[in-house]
Symmetry: C2
Subunit: 219 residues, 2 copies
Amino acid sequence: MVTRSEENYLKAIYHLGKQGTVAVSTNAIAEKIESKASSVTDMIKKLAEKNLANYIKYQGVTLTESGRLAAALVIRKHRLWEVFLVEKLNFTWDEVHDVAEQLEHIKSPKLVNELDALLGFPTHDPHGDPIPDKDGHYTPLKSVNILEVEPGNEGVLARVIDSSDVFLKYLNKNNLALGDTIKVLDFEPFDHSLTIETATKKMIISNAVAKNLFISQEL
Amino acid sequence: MVTRSEENYLKAIYHLGKQGTVAVSTNAIAEKIESKASSVTDMIKKLAEKNLANYIKYQGVTLTESGRLAAALVIRKHRLWEVFLVEKLNFTWDEVHDVAEQLEHIKSPKLVNELDALLGFPTHDPHGDPIPDKDGHYTPLKSVNILEVEPGNEGVLARVIDSSDVFLKYLNKNNLALGDTIKVLDFEPFDHSLTIETATKKMIISNAVAKNLFISQEL
DNA sequence: AATCATTTTTAGTCTCATCTAAAAATATTT
DNA sequence: AAATATTTTTAGATGAGACTAAAAATGATT
């Protein structure tokens, strides 16, 4: 049995180390999970013991095949629940995270599969992140940071990185939502801000905001 | 903060002691929760410390007003999730219990209220048990065991007690479901079995089955 | 009322997941 | 390459929540 706490560590390693393929440092995990390095060392040992992680002292940690799968399945649940909360229970995308963080640990294969079906087998969560399938696989969205788009080109807002309350509220306030078409008009070299145009208006976004917006140009 | 474990104890006391109004023994709780009497004593002390329970050594335990509310809200969540699983996710009523046992501990007032709305504010769960409202109140179903019904009278199947797989499968096989109107035709003193009549057929049910069927005569 | 049986409580131990403080290893700087 | 700084690990402690075994209280029986 993988405990709730172990699942959280697996998730952190998965996110920090490109699906757990790249070694992640003890401190990085501690920061992500908001714990202390010593706690992380303890837990990593336990994960290695259970064959979920590869660990060499002082060298950081990666995930084994089964660790990677376990992490992906937790992330799958997290993102499916996020879709459910937004689509069926009228949550806004800045409200879903804490609840999904609890729901992702519910253990019931049937529940996950039925939830998936109820939602129509979604491929992305409300933040634009891809939802892994039952085998932990997904096709990463080919999205590009809006700062790398040449002025004059446009695309669909496909993903945001920061999922803090303030940032998502900022997006709401400015009528920016996933799926919106955004055209890049101008890049300002002085402060690295961007002028963009949406269906409804023209606006200037700071570099700090732009860094968090990813658009997909295909679709 | 009420922990998951504390919630389980509150629920047990609530169920065993008529909403926690009647003193419940340490042993009874231990049996219900599948733990040991010593563990129960420890936990009861903690609940009393938090003003959720009234505890006098060797005299059993009752719930305080806030303990009663806390327990009712957990039960509310449990039963709402059961409805959700059956109505939206194609669970059969014998599959819901374990999962609902996990889901009932999710903390999010918004989640509960929205779920309630999504389900159309149900008043009873799939087993016929009433769902408490936000204040922990509910009108207990005035249902009576079918063995206590005078031959000749009828009612609506409102509640079943046994929720084991075999029993629920038995009901399915014999086309008996909650909401069905059942008329009692005859009581057989020899083996305490009953002859009943449903919309579709006449049948004889054993005493063991009859003990688990409750019908409501108003509605 | 005295003995026996049962229930409940206490005392002490265990595991899990965390922490602090100190020691050890690695990385960086001069 | 030595000294200093940073990171990581170890050692030992803590709090939940559970357990076993023994002691204390209550209840039942003669």
